[in-house]
């Protein structure tokens, strides 16, 4: 088991958002998490990544058999957890190249490896840029500064490709993308699927799942997973809408 979430409760500023989430993810699997806005999807992603503004009040997250609660944000990342952000933040004056070089080398240091020599790093970057069809000099620009919605999301997938995570959480990577960008981003993800990694794809719409076909679909509603199934569940949701879930809950 790669990831095992047990009855997770989490709150922010005393307000409980996650109200007992349980979820198991094995290597090689793609899980989709769907649900209406404000239901706690991003919160779940943040809590797995270790964001400190959220308090885990009960329950636990096991990752590769280890209790994540004891690991810092950066160590979780170095252990292979990646979060593709719903709203990637701007870092003015820091080029993507410089940012990624720092990240890659800090991860390597954690693993007891020497920093990647400049030439090798640049070659790696060129290879991964192709994966998400970044052709421009985007990587010389400051991280996310003045990026279009599509560029931001491509940049997230590019970073994922660079870091080769074991568990990738993609938070609404499809939102705000036109159909071409969506295809590119999804292709990028598909090329990175391997038997020894897993994806948690958070999305509001079924559309993305036409491209990234999930093994399991879960519906998160008001801080709980209320329904799980195969990929058909996504179609059912698309057809009946989230009102269907809401009604079932009452």
């Amino acid at each position: 088991m790669l990831l095992s979430i047990r009855n997770l409760h989490a709150s922010i500023h005393g307000k409980e958002i996650l109200k007992g989430v349980s979820l198991d993810v094995n290597k090689g699997e793609v899980h989709a998490i769907m649900g209406p806005n404000g239901t706690g999807k991003s919160t779940l992603a943040s809590v797995i990544a270790g964001r400190e503004v959220f308090d885990v009040t009960s329950g636990e997250i096991l990752y590769q058999g280890r209790d994540l609660g004891k690991l810092s944000i950066e160590d979780r990342a170095r252990e292979g957890i990646f979060l593709g952000f719903q709203y990637p933040v701007e870092i003015p004056g820091v080029s993507i190249t410089n940012f990624m070089r720092t990240a890659v080398n800090e991860v390597r240091k954690y693993k007891g490896l020497d920093p990647l020599p400049g030439g090798e790093f640049l070659r790696l970057m060129e290879e991964k840029k192709k994966l998400v069809e970044i052709t421009s000099n985007l990587t010389n620009r400051s991280v996310n500064e003045g990026f279009s919605g599509g560029e931001k999301k491509k940049n997230e997938i590019f970073q994922m490709a660079m870091l080769e995570p074991t568990l990738a959480i993609l938070d609404e990577t499809d939102s705000g993308l036109d159909i071409d960008a969506l295809r590119i981003v999804a292709n990028g993800v598909n090329k990175l699927r391997r038997p020894d990694n897993a994806f948690l794809v958070i999305t509001h719409y079924q559309r993305l799942l036409d491209y990234i076909v999930p093994d399991f679909v879960h519906v998160l509603f008001e801080g709980k997973i209320v329904k799980s199934g195969g990929k058909e569940l996504a179609f059912e949701l698309e057809e009946k809408g989230y009102d269907w879930i809401k009604k079932e809950q009452v």
Binding site: I73, A77, G93, N98, M100, A103, E106, Q159
Partner: protein, 485 residues
Amino acid sequence: MESEANKILDEVTQGDYKYGFVTDIDTEFAPIGLSEDTVRYISLKKNEPEFLLEFRLKAYRHWLTMTRPKWAHLDIEPIDFQKIIFYAAPKKKKELTSLDEVDPELLATFNKLGISLDEQKKLAGVAGVAVDAVIDSVSVKTTFSETLSKHGIIFCSFSEAVQNHPELVRQYMGSVVPYTDNYFAALNSAVFSDGSFCFIPKGVRCPMELSTYFRINAANTGQFERTLIVAEEGAYVSYMEGCTAPQRDENQLHAAIVEIVAMKDAEVKYSTVQNWYPGDKNGLGGIYNFVTKRGICKGSNSKISWTQVETGSAITWKYPSCILLGDNSVGEFYSVAVTNNHQQADTGTKMMHLGKNTRSTIISKGISAGKSNNSYRGLVRISKNALNSRNYSQCDSLLLGAGCGAHTYPYIQVDNKSSIVEHEATTSKISEDQLFYCQQRGISAESAIGLIVNGYAREVLKQLPMEFAVEAQKLLSISLEGSVG
């Protein structure tokens, strides 16, 4: 949420100063305190011509009539000038003719600081940087003087210039910063000890970076150096200045003067990385840094560019300025000032537009952490005759934590209608979002802050010569971090 970010920032902004060591060298001191005798002692020690002693005495007498300025955002203990030693020089056995004769302790000191005084070593590398090494009150060694003299360039200590080129010193010294200018300029003019002198003749592009490295070593001494740079018509020079001091519990005074003269079509680029000892975490000790730096663009189409990275000193008070006298002349000021713990900085620039079509650019980036105070104070003055002149100013402040202060005082005076002045100012914080984003990629909070701060200062850092840029980037991170060094 903010408090979480603040906690991380607090943890990582407790950096240590790594240049705080003291070298045990045989030093000769002037009697403690300040009087006309002190002034005469210094002049005699340096075997100065009469005109210079006269200049010093006039400055001293003028200084006696002045009172210490008061500043809005600097909180300074009174300075007891009778407790300061105004001249300290490493004793030398005889005149130096080669590096072998420099006290090995001194060489070791500069090596430890990462400054090579060995020309051979530098020649093996790339372009090469000529260095004037000043410890306490005197210059101990200037490298590459001979190579440079082949181009007609004079690069030597101020004392040597006084001996060998008294006519040039007499012509230019005090022509940009008169001794009457301000309290600390008057003091410096009376007691200045050494510094660098640099003269680039007509039409010569200086083939290497020139630099001076200032080091305070002795206790209870003040450092009062003076630098004079003259670029004749069509000349170009890039000049860098670095400085450090040992870690001591008492405050030490540093009051310097830098004067730059750029004639027609000349360009002078002056870069500083100021890293005097800032005092400890509780605000004990550190250098009082009161500096008057000013350049005059005397001829048309001349250009003076100041770039400074200020990370050190308990108190910094300096406003590198440009007098844009020649038509079409250009003045630039690029500054990053970092204050941490109890440091106080009040820095900025003055751009005095006198010639027509003169242009100036001001980019100031303040970074404050801990309980520090960081102020930008700038004056842009466009005179009646400076028609069609332009200024662009951008003053940004970055706050790391809740206990620090950032202030901006832009003064603008425009006396004609054809000129344009633009001013922009922002204040920002490192957000929890940014830290989380970096950390999620495996970057530690410390490195993340270093990265973000360097990104914030990039516009200024990219103005620095290569030799300095890497050093400055590291310094920015170190000044704000606890892990390095």
